[in-house]
């Protein structure tokens, strides 16, 4: 049996904003989100900025606490974990962020960057640590010489590889990848993507890949989750992605993506409106103001996520 690495159940998360300096108004970044990631499986989360995908990543990493709902690591609720168990599980869930310029400490040499998590989570043995550091650097395609360099002396692609090595040094089971390639060029991005795919196969890693780029998500994920304004609107398995009907929002994203493999089709597609502010959430289905197919019912009640085909769930009245 395959075990779940991470599971979140009915998560709600709200933040407060101060408006006019004193008035506080809450807004929901995540509404009733559930998902689970199994061993060796990767999940891609697709959506525009402000749809809550990064917040979801933070909750999985236990960097943010949900208002309601529960997070499970290896089948155990975070609420019931003892201190000792937490210490064992914590390093198993790692993260790589979008911008390798700001996620690496500029005053640390690469060796310090890699050794810090090793000392804390594995053991305080410099010799073994350095050996392991060289091993993971080799995995990500960097030479051992970079150990003595500072991040500023590395190129963008090399920096992202160091960030990846830092995640790998503690032998994780799951890595949350928050837009891992959007700060990189196409050529560098494809190098990093290939590495990630290799690790998935060879190290049996799971990923939660957060991205707004459809090709990236399709390349790396087994399941594709589409989010809109804090809600999951579609879950679809990659194998059937090009064979089934989709949520209107997924279709909009699909159409918006400029495809270098087909001639001038860019301007036949009309994209309506912008993502609404979570402070002024539309009634009913959140997507209805931008939806081509919206009807009366869409303005009044919110569709629930329900099974459509094998391997596909959609939240829409029209599908």
């Amino acid at each position: 049996m395959v075990n779940s690495v991470v599971e979140v159940k009915n998560i709600w998360k709200s933040y407060e904003v101060k408006r006019w300096g004193f008035k506080r108004s809450p807004f929901y970044a995540l509404i009733d989100v559930s998902l689970s990631v199994f061993e060796g499986e990767s999940i891609g989360i697709l959506g525009e900025s402000g749809c809550g995908k990064t917040t979801l990543g933070k909750i999985v990493l236990d960097l943010e606490k949900p208002d309601r709902g529960e997070v499970f690591w290896f089948g155990k609720s975070l609420k019931s974990l003892s201190k000792e168990e937490y210490k064992i599980f914590r390093p198993k869930i790692q993260a790589v962020f979008q911008d390798p310029y700001s996620s690496l400490n500029p005053r640390y040499k690469v060796s310090d960057i890699l050794l810090e998590p090793y000392f804390i989570n594995v053991e305080k043995d410099k010799e073994k640590g350095l050996e392991k550091a060289k091993e993971v650097l080799n995995l990500v395609g960097l030479r051992a010489e970079v150990l003595d360099k500072y991040p500023h002396a590395l190129s963008g692609g090399e920096r992202q590889r160091v960030a990846l090595a830092r995640a790998l040094i503690v032998s994780p089971s799951l890595i949350v990848l928050d837009e891992p390639t959007s700060a990189l060029d196409t050529t560098l991005a494809s190098q990093i993507l290939e590495l990630l795919k290799e690790f998935k196969k060879n190290l049996n890693l799971s990923y939660i890949l957060i991205s707004h780029s459809l090709p990236v998500v399709l390349y790396l994920s087994d399941w594709i989750i589409v989010m809109y304004l804090g809600r999951i609107v579609e879950i679809c398995k990659k194998e059937v992605f090009f064979k089934t009907q989709h949520h209107p929002y997924t279709l909009m994203l699909l159409n918006a993506y400029p495809d270098p493999f087909s001639p001038k089709a860019l301007f036949l597609k009309k994209i309506k409106g912008e993502i609404a502010s979570p402070l002024f959430r539309p009634t009913g289905c959140e997507f209805h103001p931008r939806c081509e197919e919206a009807e009366k019912i869409c303005e009044k009640s919110t569709p629930q996520l329900s099974k459509r085909e094998d391997h596909q769930y959609i939240a829409c009245f029209k599908r």
């Binding site: 692609g157 196409t186 390349y219 090009f242 400029p258 270098p260 860019l266 301007f267 912008e274």
Partner: protein, 314 residues
């Protein structure tokens, strides 16, 4: 005569002799859209700025000229360039949050262009600003002119940038990665807007991007840059259907398609400070021909309008 002509443009560092953009030449007819494709640091943005005679600190022009509508940009005096910039040629930049002035309302910023280039009364200027914002698809322009950049969403900010570029009624527009900071859906909207301007106002556009999909969607002709040089120029469909340079070929094949990547371009760009003698793509090239090791290939015409810098052809 072409509308825009760039002749053997060489740009480089001020302090020491190191060219970052080397002998770049291309020409563009009126209403054409030229796409400039390349990795970061390949000199595509420097070339874009040079079309307005603007340079980032520490960069200067060594030789070459830019001719816009028969006017040699680099033979003009400073004052003459100021009159031209914004009026004949304008630019849209990548990140509207850092390129708009945060302490002025967008109305004031657009008005500044009108003040400088046209002799209009205050009311006329206001009317014009509202009209411009309406043209670029900003809703409620009467209210929006009083907004500061931080009060607008990313998409609206970029629209305000476009309105500002259009205020001087330019004939040539340089768009330097105008959608990189935006979501895909907004990206499509901004690209649509730029394309519409090209169609309706006969705007000639130089569009700089590293995204193959965008370039194929918008450009009529493409220049591929590599390490400061043009390695291939061709009409868009010709370039994508029949890429000749090994770099262009790998670039297209390294793009994820339906969940697969055909080829990965290994390694990094050559270090120009080491003054490579041979072909600049030699290290990463699949063929790595003998000739390319020590000799530098020239840009040669293979077919009509299709030029390539590679020893394999010629």
């Amino acid at each position: 005569m072409p509308f825009l002509e760039v002749k053997d443009l060489v740009l480089g560092l001020k302090e020491k002799r190191l060219s970052l953009v080397d002998k770049v030449s291309f020409s563009l007819e009126k209403k054409e859209i030229l796409g400039i494709l390349g990795e970061s640091g390949c000199g595509k943005s420097l070339t874009g700025f040079a079309l307005l005679r603007l340079f980032p600190p520490g960069i200067t022009r060594y030789s070459g000229d830019v001719i816009i509508d028969g006017i040699s940009l680099y033979e003009l005096s400073e004052e003459e360039v100021l009159k031209l910039r914004g009026r004949k040629v304008a630019i849209i930049l990548q990140d509207p949050l850092s390129s708009l002035n945060p302490v002025l309302t967008i109305g004031e910023q657009i008005e500044e262009v009108l003040k400088y280039h046209f002799n209009l009364s205050k009311n006329e200027r206001r009317e014009r600003v509202i009209q411009l914002l309406k043209e670029v698809g900003v809703p409620d322009p009467e209210l929006r002119i009083k907004s500061y950049p931080h009060q607008l969403s990313g998409g609206l900010r970029q629209r305000a940038m476009v309105a500002m570029a259009l205020a001087g009624e330019p004939e040539l527009l340089v768009a330097d990665e105008p959608t990189t900071a935006l979501d895909v859906t907004l990206q499509t909207q901004i690209l649509e807007l730029i394309y519409e301007l090209n169609q309706k106002k006969d705007l000639t556009i130089v569009f700089i991007s590293h995204d193959l999909g965008i370039i194929r969607g918008i450009a009529s002709k493409v220049c591929v840059f590599y390490a400061g040089e043009i390695v291939e120029i061709a009409p868009t469909e010709e370039l994508f259907n029949n890429p000749l340079h090994p770099y262009t070929q790998t670039l297209i094949e390294s793009y994820p398609k339906e969940g697969k990547i055909k080829k990965i371009l290994k390694g990094g760009v050559v270090n120009l400070a080491e003054k490579p003698k041979g072909c600049r793509y030699f290290e990463r090239c699949e063929i790595s021909c003998e000739e390319g090791k020590n000799n530098h290939p020239e840009l040669i015409g293979v077919k009509k309008d299709h030029l390539v810098r590679c020893f394999r052809y010629g």
